[in-house]
């Protein structure tokens, strides 16, 4: 059978000229991730929580620091959650709108988690990859430094820092940034040690590629799978860490708040019958953590198919 002229021409193009787009390992991993229902559900919840944190304030009827003096101390019987009054999540003991405060608390908690994970990814990965790739004495010094930092009880140091330099969000970020990258550096170094003996790294060395380029072009992209998985599992860890500090009353200061601080206030008022003060922050805290864990598990399965 003879092909029509345009068909033949197209076949020719397909055979000779058109560049075939390859499926990268990232594309494969993405496909595997999207087949994982639990991870997808986690991702959806996470997007929902992020939208709530970012835009939830737009539908709030009250400012988060507006004190309704008529409700102060009377929230147990006049400030319960209600659409009609505009206090969707009720009012806290000081007469402030809990909805607006939960939005802000979620925002701060997410921010803390993501900043911690970002510091870990950038600093920890580069630090670990450099130590592992250079090896020898440099590796020894760099990793012993990490060991020393890890052996310091950080909760104690952070509490001292917050007491000495004043309690501020910036101090909290610095404290969390200081500890979050240590584990990541160890993980990245271990992976780099196995990678640097691979032949493609040797090929790059033999060609004369500089060490920095090798780390950035050959080592880090191959580390990234594990780093991403660990980072998604690190975010909830950081949120819990911040909540604990805030629960102790040392973290975020009024009028700002975080989920940990809100839960702290909520538990103190449990005897008053204002359970919504505990319930709403706790709900957002839990679904955020669960969502991060599910997404992390999904990413691990997607990026590391051999381990399944």
């Amino acid at each position: 059978m003879k092909l029509a002229q345009p068909d033949a021409k197209m076949l020719q193009e397909v055979g000779d000229l058109a560049e075939v787009r390859g499926r990268s390992l990232w594309a494969d991993a993405r496909a595997r991730f999207f087949r994982n229902k639990a991870a997808l559900a986690g991702l959806a919840v996470l997007i929902g929580v992020c939208l709530f944190a970012a835009f939830g304030g737009l539908i709030a009827q009250y400012e988060r620091d507006f004190v309704d003096f008529s409700l102060m101390g009377a929230n147990a019987y006049q400030g319960s959650p209600s659409i009609a009054t505009g206090h969707y999540f009720g009012v806290d003991i000081d007469g402030r709108d809990l909805y607006a405060r939960t939005v802000q608390g979620t925002r701060i908690s997410l921010l803390v988690g993501i900043v911690g994970a970002l510091v870990a990814v950038v600093v920890g990965t580069l630090y670990g990859a450099t130590a592992g790739y250079i090896g020898g004495r440099v590796d020894n010094i760099m990793m012993r430094t990490v060991d020393v930092l890890m052996s310091i009880p950080f909760m104690f140091v952070l509490i001292l820092m917050l007491v000495i330099f004043g309690r501020s969000i910036l101090m909290l970020f610095i404290g969390i940034g200081l500890i979050s990258w240590l584990d990541m550096a160890r993980i990245a170094r271990g992976q780099t040690l196995t990678l640097k003996n691979k032949e493609f790294v040797e090929a790059a060395v033999a060609t004369g590629v500089t060490p920095l380029t090798i780390i950035l072009r050959h080592v880090v992209p191959n580390l990234l799978g594990i780093v991403i998985v660990y980072a998604t599992l690190l975010v909830p860890q950081m949120i819990i860490f911040e909540s604990f500090i805030s629960y102790l009353g040392l973290g975020v200061q009024e009028p700002n708040t975080s989920l940990g601080a809100l839960m702290s206030l909520g538990t103190k008022q449990m005897n008053n019958g204002t359970l919504w003060m505990l319930f709403y922050p706790l709900f957002f805290f839990l679904i955020t953590l669960f969502a991060f864990f599910f997404v992390g598990d999904g990413l691990r399965d997607a990026l590391d198919p051999k381990d399944r």
Binding site: S24, A203, T207, G208, R217, N222
Partner: protein, 335 residues
């Protein structure tokens, strides 16, 4: 005769090995991977390196490309010692000497596209090349090694072993090097693909005027591609000579044993021939035998072999053998 492109003179490579559970101040053990080896390589020539696993072939290759420092002797590339090169000379050496690796897939970064992999030496040494030219040169070299240029955006895991090895060859050849070091380039491939890759290397060599060091533990492959063969054992040269002469009339007892181990595809002749089989394993390179390193497994060993390392004696012109009791085993000549 022209000057050799590569001249290896009394080169030794040793590695420090920390003994198990040693104190920090106990001295390291020395592993002698290559000891006092000399050989020259002429422009356009192919030198085959043969020997068992652990005989130092790959170490020698890495010393030649400069990723492992030699601990003694000199490696002269175009008359310049590798150990004393200025940074510019090192860059030129890195550019002119390229390597093809054993495991085709492991030698390619799984996160990079084939086009990026092949272009890497080019953008490393000529960073100002315009993107369009990089692409056209990658396409040109892919065509030359028998890959369709439209596969440029694919990833290494989407290729077969033979294709991956072609990618590795394309990467090594894109800068038009003068010396290509092939470290067992075909041992991980199927026999049918082996022949394709070896023939491809031969064609490219003839076309580009490359010098080549070709490592294999399979004598028949080496015989096919090499002009000269060097047989190595425990880091020492045993026999050097023209490929045909070494395989047809091996003189060193080790070469004879190696050739006897190559099966003949004819059951009658295979059963009839004399096969001196080597007993035992390679001795530890941490404490090589005194004198001739092969004497522990040599069928012709004499007490005098333990005294001093035998010198490389010229048997024929162009032929050096490190054994005072050399003789031609006629039975083996058939292989």
């Amino acid at each position: 005769m022209a000057d050799p492109i590569l001249s290896i003179r009394d080169v030794s490579v040793t590695f420090d090995v920390r003994p198990q559970g040693a104190w920090p101040w106990t001295p390291s053990l020395k592993l002698h991977a290559v000891s006092k080896l000399s050989v020259d390589l002429m422009p356009g020539e192919t030198l085959g390196l043969v020997g068992e696993s652990g005989s130092g072939k790959s170490t020698l290759a890495r010393a030649v490309i400069g990723t492992i420092p030699q601990s003694g002797g000199q490696i002269l590339y175009e008359g310049r010692d590798l150990a004393q090169m200025t940074p510019q000379e090192t860059r030129r050496h890195r550019r002119d000497v390229q390597m093809v690796f054993q495991d085709p897939l492991a030698a390619l970064n799984p996160r990079m596209t084939v086009g990026d992999i092949i272009a890497e030496p080019l953008i490393t040494h000529e960073p100002r090349t315009p993107r369009q030219e990089v692409k056209s040169r990658v396409a040109e070299i892919m065509d030359k090694v028998g890959l369709l240029p439209n596969l440029i955006n694919r990833y290494p895991h989407e290729f077969s072993g033979g294709q991956c090895q072609r990618i590795g060859i394309a990467r090594a050849l894109i800068l038009k090097p003068k010396l290509l070091v092939c470290d067992e380039p075909v041992s991980a491939l199927d026999v049918s693909v082996q022949a394709q890759v070896v023939n491809l290397l031969r064609e490219l060599q003839a076309e580009m005027g490359l010098s080549m060091i070709f490592i294999a533990h399979d004598l028949s492959v080496v015989k096919h591609i090499s002009d000269r063969i060097m047989v190595m054992y425990l880091g020492c040269p045993m026999e050097v000579g023209p490929a045909r002469a070494v395989t047809a009339t091996p003189r060193h007892p080790y070469t004879q044993a190696l050739i006897a181990s190559v099966p003949i595809p004819d059951p009658v002749r295979e059963a009839a021939r004399y096969r001196p089989v080597l007993e035992g394993d390679l001795p530890s390179p941490l404490s090589p035998p005194s004198g001739c390193v092969f004497r522990t497994r040599c069928p012709k060993a004499q007490p005098s072999c333990a005294q001093a390392r035998p010198a490389m004696e010229a048997a024929d012109p162009d032929r050096l053998v490190a054994c005072p009791f050399q003789e031609v085993e006629e039975v083996l000549a058939e292989a």
